[in-house]
Amino acid sequence: MDIFAQQVLNGLVLGSVYALVALGYTMVYGILGLINFAHGEVVMIGAMIALAVVSALLSVFPEMSPFLMIALAGTAAILVCMSLAFFIERLAYRPLRNAPRLAPLITAIGISILLQNIAMIIWGRKYKTVPQIFPTETFELFGANITSVQIFIITVSALLMAGLLVIVHFTKLGRAMRATSESQRVAGLMGINVNKIISVTFMIGAGLAAVAGILIAGNYSVAHYSMGFMLGLKAFTAAVLGGIGNLGGAVLGGLLLGLIESIGAGYIGDLTGGFLGSHYQDVFAFVVLIVVLVFRPTGIMGERVSERA
């Protein structure tokens, strides 16, 4: 087995999930200029809902085809997350659209705490195990081991990201979204229902988050009420790395962050002669972020904003 190829592959799997979650951050940020801190928790809710549906189906119809089962669970999770996002935006962000910039940040933190604790009360504190409804098969690719679940993750993420890019760049809805992010006032004057576009943006992001949650739970076979928080932060880091507000940047940032973490943890010890070890994995990621931002203050693909923003 080729160790380097395996590390690159590990990074790509991790990175494609980061990218999927980062898209949600970046879309909301692009349109509202708001860090949606609760986005990570939406990922968690998606995973939990899918897990609950699969467990229920397994106990009632143990003979059901796994494809149908995952389709049902996925649909349920996506619907729940979308309506959740709709209500979050409606109740916690919309009333604060003209408030000082930090007010919606604090409500976002509040929502995040609220969702985590509600999930904890409903699903308990223990790590929950995810039943393996698909048999895990391992393949060899360029000398690296890859499981069927990992192939699934990379494929689904790539398809969704491509789909999103198509929506944003080639549909009427996408044009309305881009117009709204340029200027809400002007977009409104052009006959765009700004509130509706913002709601839709939140819901699309939440749908992606739900899928990300299912993919993660499926890959690691565990789900936990706190699983969304760190993931959300990492994804947010990825979005900033790529240039927040920029969809391509989020994908690039996500993949890059996954690769940095994986290769950092794998080689940092050898590179520094054993002085730094894999416990500095996260430091490595943040240092790269800081260095990138020092030289490109708006991220890798971020547009240069004039000082008078």
Binding site: A99, R101, L233, I244, D282, E307
Partner: protein
Amino acid sequence: MKYFMQDLWRRFTGNRRALFFGYVLLFVALALLPFLLSNTVGRTWVRILDFALIYAMLALGLNIVVGFAGLLDLGYIAFYAVGAYTWALLASPQFDLHLPFWAILPIGAGMAALFGVLLGAPTLRLRGDYLAIVTLGFGEIIRIFLNNLDHPVNVTNGPIGINKIDPISIGGADLTKTHELLGIVFSGVHIYYYVLLILLFLTIVICVRLEKSRIGRAWLAIREDELAAQAMGINTRNVKLLAFALGAMFGGVAGGLFASLQGFVSPESFGLLESIMVLCMVVLGGMGHVYGVLLGALLLTVLPEILRSTASPIQRTLFGEVYIDPEALRMLLFGLALILVMLVRPTGLWPAPKRRTVIDQDIVED
């Protein structure tokens, strides 16, 4: 009602004799508070109050960065950690150093200020949310280093933490032990209360004076419009760095006091959630307003403790059983409170009177 209160307040503050009398009353009340608490609900509450005062100091420090200068810092707890570890390393059996507190306090403050500049320098060009994520990363980096600096050379003991940190001692008298003065018995937590109260008072005075000074006005100018501030001849680089350094300094002092009061530090006290908690104190209380921030800090440290001692008994008397774990309930209410307060009062519970007019014009558009 609001205007009535404002009017009353103005009249009260306008009358010098009433004002003086009010201060005397406040002073006596604050001086007697620990005795009142330890005789009614136990000395534990004095310890909780001590922690509340430390958090108040911390929140005031963050207020300089976020409230005055408008720089969103999500890793502020790192400076608290630097202060705490400086104290821990210089006054514990770890390296067998036992410097006196009047030597460590300035060293800790200086170290924290240095780290403040270290964070500030590379991030000068960043604005808004880019700054937020970098400061967050900086906070995590500091915590991860503290957690791992036990190898290859043991500096911090890693996750195990440093124990047996010296308490403040004056003239050889250990302040965690019980002392008698003029026939009154002072226990350790009482003495810490007075020390902290004096330091907090100093912090408040410095903050209020700073806000009204040239530097304070420069911060305000940067917060409202950096480009215009620059055009007015303000050296934005130095003024921003000063905000980082001063804010960090207060964090460092608070951290040192925390270490000596608790007698133990470990990296888990300095996680991201703590940073968020302090930020919530600042924003909830009223960003940029010293007394508002003070209120926010006291509320967010004392209320959870009250809830903790009442949540289970109330559920038990109402339903005969504890349905929702008090920890979960506390966090639920905390989350809910954050949302509701922000929806009802987006500028905080007790915002700065002047800031209001500025914000009304501050439309997010563009």
